[in-house]
């Protein structure tokens, strides 16, 4: 049970969610009619705008709040958000790129070993929870980091956290715990 310091694991960031504000009211109808690659959802009161270059989808509200999803890195999220704001600016709105913040990062990681979830859960009783009838993965929440890790018996992990650094830290944190409860390969 040695906490390995070099965890040469591949952490693949699959999704980065960011928000920003334009500090101005946006007329969704105008955006829907004149914008390119937009989907208008009047029943939800928002417009979805999709970008190709950083492949992101943005939900735009009339208040000027925009949520940007689908990026694969923080930098990409920011770049995409700026592009989006630029597009809105071109449509004629007095847009300001304000309050940009990455709110969530989703990453996946795979352990080189399988895991005994029940064992793991028992060992990390309050922090980890496992309800096989509800979900096949054990959920481990790191309060300090505000990160959540879902552990599957195959050894796959999905980690969500407020930023990429947190995610990396979380993986590092949990690796030793998982290592303890690894399932010896039978086959």
């Amino acid at each position: 049970m040695e906490p390995s310091n070099d965890v040469a694991l591949d952490i693949i960031i699959t999704n980065v969610v960011a928000v920003f504000r334009t500090r101005c009211h946006l007329n969704l109808r105008t955006i829907a009619l004149e914008g390119v690659n937009v989907i208008y959802k009047p029943e939800y009161g928002k417009v979805l705008m999709k970008l190709r270059k950083p492949r992101i989808t943005a939900s735009i509200w009339s208040s000027g709040k925009i949520i940007c999803t689908g990026a694969t890195s923080e930098e990409e999220a920011k770049q995409g958000a700026r592009r989006l704001a630029r597009t809105l600016q071109k449509l004629g709105f007095k847009v300001r790129f304000a309050d940009f913040k990455v709110v969530n990062v989703l990453a996946v990681c795979s352990m080189p070993f399988a895991i005994r979830l029940i064992d793991f859960t028992k060992k990390n009783r309050p922090i980890a929870s496992y309800e096989p009838e509800l979900h096949p993965a054990a959920t481990y929440r790191i309060k300090t980091l505000k990160a959540t890790i879902q552990i599957f018996s195959t050894g796959s992990l999905t980690v969500t956290g407020p930023n990429v650094q947190t995610v990396a830290t979380a993986v590092e944190h949990i690796y030793p715990l998982l290592f303890e409860c690894q399932k010896p390969l039978r086959k």
Partner: protein
């Protein structure tokens, strides 16, 4: 896509005709001349042809070479096909009877005409013909379908008056089939049915339908009497009536003037007239007073002859009132076609019942007229759903803008001022401690610094995959369903026009898939 281009050009022609007709009154009210409309029409048509979006050939109204109708011929009928002809040559009386029986046999025989068939075509009685558009016409009497020479005006102008509006004619007029000896006026069917027996036939106003549309023009919606064709034109001198008389039931339909002559004709019918008139009686009464009755009942697609006859009557009335241009003929025909097509399916069930009695009551005619008006609207709607009848968001937009504007203007004004201020301050000092953005003071500094670059905006964006689709390929239509999964889109569209590669295509349903 010959058929498509035909349909398309007909559609466009009908649209043009509709618009012109509807404007006619307004124009005249304004005190402008009719000439203006004619000029407009010429310009419009020439533009459409020039744009090459439509097959120019088809635009020539009277030169439809392709058969507009598809007649399906059951194998057993193949041989019988020619048979009637021969028999028809014989004394009509007997043959009539035989045909009658055939009809009564109830064989819904439909025979198909090879597309390239050349006219004239003789069609035995008792068959049901189906046009390309799906309309069914029952031939009660052996008929001969011929094609009028291009540009031929089926009806001599003199005949116009008594003509009934021909829903029939309208029907498929583009194909300008005409009765052999004479254009079939009420040729509801794309082909004009002519009695097999042509000898005694004089090219009379039978062409009514054709002529009628020309005269009519005012109501392109003339309901077509699909049945009309069926009745072979009686070789009666009474032209129109005969045409109308084509409807077995219809005898009443014959145009006003015609009726009387028709009467006489009718009486003769059994002897020389191949067609069977199922109900001569209504016609015999022949008194329908068409004065001032402007009927306009859509012709039912069914074979209810009675209804057809009624319509014929009404048409006739209309014809009288209208003196259409020769040119309008084609258009009105097209329009009528459209109408009929639409209406036909709808069933003028009410009309049928209405017509059942076959009385030539003025009241009934009026009812028919009223219904016709409805059809007119329906037809207009079919062709054009925008413009005056657009119920969409003109008002909504306005309201939204109003409401939005009221709320937004103030806000925007404020924002603008703030933005200006922000810009100024930002330019002066990199640090932005603006109070305006002071909601979240945390991290504000970073954010504010970044705001500025956005405004300068050069680096940002500018990808704009520059208009990949600076295309001219456009589809204007309605949608049933638009679905998306990730970046896969599926489109279920309806009732639209597509301009692709410079050509126009019309569709009632379209399905598409695309990846974004």
């Amino acid at each position: 896509m010959l058929s498509n281009s035909n349909n398309l050009s007909k559609l466009y022609l009908s649209v043009i005709e509709d618009v012109i007709e509807n404007m006619r009154e307004l124009i005249l009210d304004e005190g402008l001349e009719d000439r203006v409309l004619e000029v407009l029409k010429q310009l419009w048509e020439s533009k459409v042809m020039q744009s090459n979006a439509v097959d120019g050939l088809a635009l020539v109204k009277n030169t439809i070479n392709s058969s507009n109708f598809v007649l399906q011929l059951p194998p057993n009928y193949g041989q019988n096909f020619t048979k009637p002809t021969a028999s028809m040559v014989n004394p009509a009386g007997q043959n009539v009877q035989s045909f009658t029986t055939k009809n009564n046999g109830g064989t819904l025989a439909t025979f198909s005409l090879p597309p390239g068939v050349t006219y004239p075509v003789q069609i035995p009685a008792g068959v049901t013909l189906q046009t390309a558009s799906g309309q069914l016409y029952k031939v009660n009497v052996p008929v001969m379908v011929t094609q009028a020479p291009a540009g031929q005006c089926p009806l001599p102008p003199s005949q116009l008056q008594p003509r009934q509006r021909v829903p029939v004619v309208e029907r498929r007029d583009l194909c300008s089939t005409s009765l052999q000896p004479a254009p079939v006026v009420p040729s509801t069917v794309p082909k004009t049915m002519a009695p097999l027996k042509t000898e005694p036939f004089t090219p009379r106003p039978v062409a009514c339908p054709n002529a009628v549309p020309q005269t009519t023009e005012q109501k392109p919606l003339i309901p077509l009497v699909p049945l009309r064709d069926e009745k072979p034109v009686v070789p009666q001198p009474a032209v129109q009536p005969t045409v109308q008389g084509n409807h077995v039931l219809q005898s009443e339909a014959p145009p006003v003037q015609a009726p009387f002559s028709l009467h006489t004709q009718m009486s003769f019918q059994p002897p020389y007239q191949p067609p069977l008139y199922k109900s001569e009686s209504p016609f015999d009464s022949g008194h329908f007073t068409l004065d001032g009755i402007d009927f306009d009942s859509p012709k039912p697609i069914d074979m209810s002859l009675t209804s057809a006859s009624t319509q014929m009557q009404s048409l006739q009335v209309k014809m009288e009132t209208v003196l259409p241009d020769g040119s309008a003929f084609g258009a009105s025909k097209v329009a009528a076609e459209e109408t009929v097509r639409q209406e036909g399916h709808g069933g003028t069930a009410d009309m049928s019942t209405h017509l059942e009695g076959l009385p030539l009551d003025a009241s009934k005619l009026e009812m028919a007229l009223l219904k016709d008006y409805n059809y007119n609207d329906a037809l207009a709607d079919i062709i054009q759903l925008d413009g005056p009848s657009d119920s969409s968001s003109d008002v909504e937009e306005f309201e939204e803008e109003m409401g939005g504007a009221i709320g937004e203007n103030d806000f925007l004004g404020m924002m603008t001022a703030e933005a200006l201020q922000a810009l100024q301050e930002a330019e002066e000092s990199s640090d932005d401690g603006k109070s305006s953005s002071g909601d979240d003071s945390v991290g504000m500094d970073e954010v504010t610094v970044e705001e500025d670059p956005l405004n300068s905006g050069d680096d940002v964006s500018e990808q704009d995959v520059p208009d990949l689709f600076d295309t001219n390929n456009v589809i204007v239509c309605q949608y049933d369903k638009i679905h998306r999964s990730k970046n896969r889109w599926k489109f279920y569209l309806k009732d639209g026009v597509m301009c692709y590669g410079g050509k126009d295509y019309v569709f009632s349903k379209a399905v598409g898939e695309a990846e974004w």
